[in-house]
């Protein structure tokens, strides 16, 4: 039974030590199952594991690391969207935002898995579990090869993965071995396509740009009186055009 988690309020360096120790014990216990790791001191921890051991890793974190809290599970599609921001980027060009946006789009690669803890495939499964006794969470990842988008289910260790896996199934087309009900969760049963994949177009935005374009004409120049702030604070808001 988990109990009070009151240890995480320590100062920053102590937290890092905790994460380093956690990482060390994970790598020590799992051995070659761990493919790559990344530690952001004071922030978070990423561990990429082999796909074949995905269910065993869940079991390990549940039992050995006592990460009893299942946070979430999802899939990443690392492909660059072939559509970019469609007509929205035109709006931005009119707004004279620097055209660097194009540079991001020209980065197009077939499999651009370039996130934390690396990856070689277009699709990556991601999950996060936390331990209440230490207050630390771990982000777990595994590569999914394009020709075989299947992976073992986590339900045996974390029953809460049930709906998350169904969502991943309908949104990305990843199926989970051993899942008792691999059906659409949100989408209608006869829905075609996998909406959260990058190559699935967001049709609404392709036919009509965001109507915000009607509002973006420059505001009339008004001589702004010294803004009175009742509570003695200075108001300067860059997103409203205050500070450069």
């Amino acid at each position: 039974m988990p109990s009070a988690a009151d240890t995480s309020a320590d100062s920053e360096p102590v937290k890092d030590e905790a994460r380093e120790a956690l990482l060390e014990s994970i790598v020590g216990d799992l051995g070659s199952v761990v493919v790559e790791t990344r530690l952001d001191p004071g922030h978070d921890l990423w561990v990429r594991v082999a796909r074949e051991s995905w269910a065993a890793v869940a079991e390990y974190f549940h039992e050995e690391q006592r990460c009893r809290y299942f946070d979430w599970l999802s899939v990443m599609d690392w492909k660059q969207s072939p559509f970019g921001r469609s007509m929205d980027s035109e709006v931005e060009n009119q707004l004279n935002t620097e055209p660097e946006e194009e540079a991001a789009e020209s980065d197009y690669t077939e499999t651009g898995a370039d996130g934390y803890a690396g990856g070689e495939t277009r699709f990556q499964i991601m999950a996060r579990v936390s331990s209440l006794s230490t207050g630390l969470g771990v982000n777990l990842k595994a590569d999914l090869p394009d020709d075989d988008l299947t992976i073992d289910t986590w339900i045996n260790s974390y029953p809460g993965a049930n709906w998350h896996e169904r969502e991943a199934f309908e949104m990305f087309g990843v199926s989970f071995n051993g899942h008792p009900k691999m059906q659409n969760l949100y989408l209608p049963t006869d829905f075609e396509g996998f909406p959260l994949r990058k190559d699935y177009p967001l049709v609404a935005r392709m036919v009509k740009p965001w109507p915000g374009i009607v509002d973006v004409e420059p505001m009339p120049e008004v001589e702004e009186p010294a803004k009175e702030t009742p509570l003695g604070a200075t108001t300067s808001n860059p997103q409203d055009g205050g500070v450069q």
Partner: protein, 390 residues
């Protein structure tokens, strides 16, 4: 009437007829009952297919998605300042609380920190959102059990809090007030005094609800021992917020991981209840509203002066990286896993909402309960449909 000739129309009509038949279908080994999607106890459009043996539920299967709006996809074509407008609509009863974790995730990647005053005002608005949200639950739980009065009290007194949110942000429900690096504006004159008065009203409301509901024989009978969630089951389903604290788990991100907000600056406590039943969930939430009033009062007293905006470039671009930030929202833990590739828009945003995980326990929890208790249990888990469907 015109005859239906088109094959597709025929198929549609047949499907409609099938749906209608499913509504109450007698079977050999039990009855299938459709609760919802248009059922008053489902707070919107959640449909629960329950298979019954007499009065007892053999199997419950929630069907959702009637309100799925695809926010994770939509964020990929919006700039960062535009995203907050969207995510306001996830949990629409306490919208400001939705904005905060996203903004914090973006700030984390940009390595920007909001000035102290902004952090305190964020915390105040966050807690006011919690009061407005959970007071709805306190009233609504009564409605589900046939007592309408608490709801009227809740609607009446919540308005004072919403007025304060509106006075500060301009929106009762959708403030869109949080910015990367701080806040849109400072508080208006006289706001602090007015908020103290509004808190007086809410504290009185809590007392009224407690007098009305806690100790009421009908209420106790219908909630005590109903829908018990053991702590380890709750955790493995990802339950969070008051739902898990009512199972005796002392776990609150406000205390355990106060990411860049001011909760660690004030004196307050986390309420838990050992029972894990519907009553415990009600009781914990009631105490939490009081505790929130207590937190806001202290924050108002100690509000630091200074700027409300850090230096942030005019066009927000978030550097490459990944960050996950979760906050203790009124409904439970809400987190955003933000992946940026350095552009004007997020590359991917995974929204972890509290209601989704909280509701994923329902098939397990409803098994073996009675039909009348289904409503109580659903109400006591407290979900917002927008938070469930995203």
């Amino acid at each position: 009437m015109t005859a239906i000739n088109d094959r597709r129309q025929l198929a549609y009509a047949a499907a409609q007829a099938t749906d209608a038949r499913v509504n109450i279908e007698l079977e050999a080994e039990g009855m299938t009952l459709n609760i919802g999607p248009q059922h008053p106890a489902t707070h919107g459009t959640l449909r629960i297919i329950v298979r019954l043996d007499g009065e007892q539920v053999i199997e419950a299967d929630p069907v959702m998605g009637y309100m799925h709006r695809g926010y994770e996809k939509l964020t990929e074509v919006r700039t960062y300042p535009q995203v907050t407008t969207l995510i306001n609509r996830i949990d629409w009863v306490s919208s400001f609380a939705n904005e905060v974790p996203f903004i914090l995730a973006a700030e984390k990647l940009m390595e920007v920190e909001a000035p102290p005053r902004a952090q305190w005002i964020r915390t105040i608005l966050f807690e006011l959102g919690r009061i407005a949200n959970v007071s709805m639950f306190l009233g609504d739980m009564g409605v589900q059990l046939g007592a309408v009065t608490p709801m009227f009290y809740a609607l009446r007194d919540r308005e004072f809090i919403l007025n304060q949110i509106e006075a500060a942000t301009g929106g009762r429900f959708h403030p869109n007030f949080d910015r990367i690096g701080g806040l849109k504006d400072d508080l208006p004159a006289g706001w602090i005094e007015d908020t103290r008065l509004a808190l007086d009203k809410m504290e009185y409301f809590c007392q009224q609800v407690e007098d009305l509901v806690i100790g009421n024989e009908i209420f106790e009978q219908r909630t005590r021992g109903i829908g018990i969630i053991p702590a380890d089951v709750g955790l493995s389903y990802g339950l969070s917020g008051a739902n898990i604290r009512a199972s005796g788990v002392d776990w609150d991100l406000r205390r355990d991981n106060p990411v860049g907000l001011a909760w660690d600056q004030v004196d307050w406590r986390v309420w838990t209840h050992p029972d894990g039943d519907s009553f415990a969930r009600y009781w914990v939430r009631l105490q939490e509203v009081r505790e929130s009033c207590h937190i806001v009062r202290q924050l108002l007293d100690g509000l630091p002066s200074g700027p409300i905006m850090a230096k942030v470039p005019r066009v927000v671009k978030v550097p490459e990286g990944e960050a996950y930030v979760a906050c203790e929202n009124p409904l439970g833990q809400m987190g955003y896993y933000l992946v940026s590739q350095g552009g004007l828009t997020p590359f991917r945003v995974k929204v972890r909402t509290a209601s989704f995980s909280n509701m994923s326990i329902t098939p397990w929890l409803l098994k073996g309960t009675y039909v009348a208790d289904v409503i109580t249990i659903l109400a006591s888990l407290y979900f917002i449909l927008g938070d469930l469907d995203r």
